[in-house]
Amino acid sequence: MNNVFYESPEYGLLTIDSVYEFYEEPRLFSVSNEVGNIFVVYWASTDEGSDTWFLIPISRDKLYQFEMKQVCIRDVLQYQEKKHFVKLVVPFDESEKTQFEFILANTIQNLIMLPLQGVYISSSPHTTLLESPALVEATHEIHIQKNSKNAQKLYLETVSRIVESFSELYSSLAELFEGGTGLEAVGGRRGSFILSFNAKHSELIDSTLSELFCLIGERENVIPFIEKNNINAPALCELLSRIANSYSNFDLKQNSDSNSLIKISSNDAKYYIKTLNNYVSTIVSSSQVPQANDLKKLFEIVEKLSNGTDLIESELSLTRRQIKYYLHAASTLGFTQSYGSITSLGQEIANASYATRITITARAFQYSHCGWAWIKWSNVSNITELDASTATDFLIKNCSSLSENTAKRRATTLKKWCKTLSDAYTGV
């Protein structure tokens, strides 16, 4: 294995977890063994035939502070948590024996000149050690942590929701800036919650996000910026709500840079929720707009989901991509969960006659986010009063995350649904 640093009967197999500094090869990094003991490894010197390394035992908490640049390199070396550290002299030639020596921690200054106080690691740790093109480099990291010791614990569910919201915001920006991609999960590291991602061609997205969250940090009015840059406001609102409700702080770091791209506290997030909620009720995000013209096909898919039948392209006469659109449309109406499982309303659709299906769907569409936003925008009270021909105009003006061409394409679904469903709509 390429990430094995050292193996000995005393410490077991030490593998490299995160690299903080490189020079020709990793020179300052963390390692751990099979039972979770952690060490920071510091390059002490090199001679013609060997490298000398200091193997410093470190607690998980201190390592986290080190990685978050709350503890400097000198403090890790000088103020160690255990009485001894290990000096390893590792020959370049594997056939030669490694020298292993316990050293009193408080004598480290007598051995080498230490870095000055206040020198921190240069960037977020790199978890990718190999140069193989098959491996994906982590370009960004998300850090989520409680905003105070008294805040409730961060559960996986909470973290997942925050990451999901951020991913939606990021992906909608990637759609706007051609060439950008969504966030590809690469791995995780020790810390409160640290997730590594790869995002290609992200410069424009990063600068837009950085500017947006700078405004948020300064409590400025963000609506003009959102409108000017076509930011996905519902996704942003969702992200801020989830950060505020979980009393957590959210950081997005770029691994090529030492600074945070985004840094937001739950208090900042809370400040914007009311304003953004009001704004968002009149607009829709691309993920809330269906693109599935044929309602009969939609019912067929819901029925198959209800029966646990596979969705086969040839049986449905749809491509894989079209099936995805129909599944998405079903979720916008509440027939399925966002992750694809059938809801009770979906079960009712599956078991009903066509006429009942249309009646149920009419109400579902009226109260879907997209349907209701269209009604509000049109200043009418229900779908029977909607003018189907305004669908394109509605999407172009209220769904900034859709390009004009996509808005026109999705408007055909709204028009068709409006025409089919308005006759079947029954009021309360």
């Binding site: 500094e21 020709e24 013609e48």
Partner: protein, 139 residues
């Protein structure tokens, strides 16, 4: 096939191995402004020795790692002054007495590849390039 067999035998140093691609096939023409930690001011030829020339047995460490082995025959550079300064400050015992020299690298110097970390480059330097003459120590 080794790059060495594609080029004239005198182009690359004789200590480059013949059984692997050195420079590696994905290295590109060296070009740009770079920073090097040097032992002299003004920099001399000795300041631009490859890792192999400085530590002739280091290659043994990478004999089982064909991806990293070619890097041993290269010379390390940074693409920013800050990155060079930072590495000096992190390892003062090793680099504290080194100078930071800045210079323009052109394709005739050799081939380069971004290796290990955000600002670190390996450059495989051809014979007789007088690269040291292009570098000046930054104050």
């Amino acid at each position: 096939m080794s790059n060495n067999s594609n080029n004239s035998q005198s182009e690359w140093p004789l200590f480059f191995p013949r059984n692997i691609d050195v420079p590696p096939s994905d290295a590109v023409n060296a070009e740009g402004i770079f920073f090097r930690l040097t032992i002299e001011s003004p920099p001399g030829t000795v300041c631009f020795q490859s890792t192999h020339e400085e530590q002739p047995t280091r290659y043994k460490k990478f004999l089982k790692d064909p991806q990293k082995l070619p890097n041993v025959y290269a010379t390390s550079f940074f693409d920013t002054y800050e990155a060079a300064k930072h590495i000096k400050s992190v390892f003062p015992y090793i680099f504290g007495d080194k100078y930071i020299a800045k210079g323009k690298v052109i394709p005739m110097i050799g081939k380069m590849k971004k290796t290990n970390g955000p600002h670190h480059y390996s450059i495989w330097i051809r014979n007789n390039t007088l690269i040291h003459a292009s570098f000046v120590v930054e104050i």
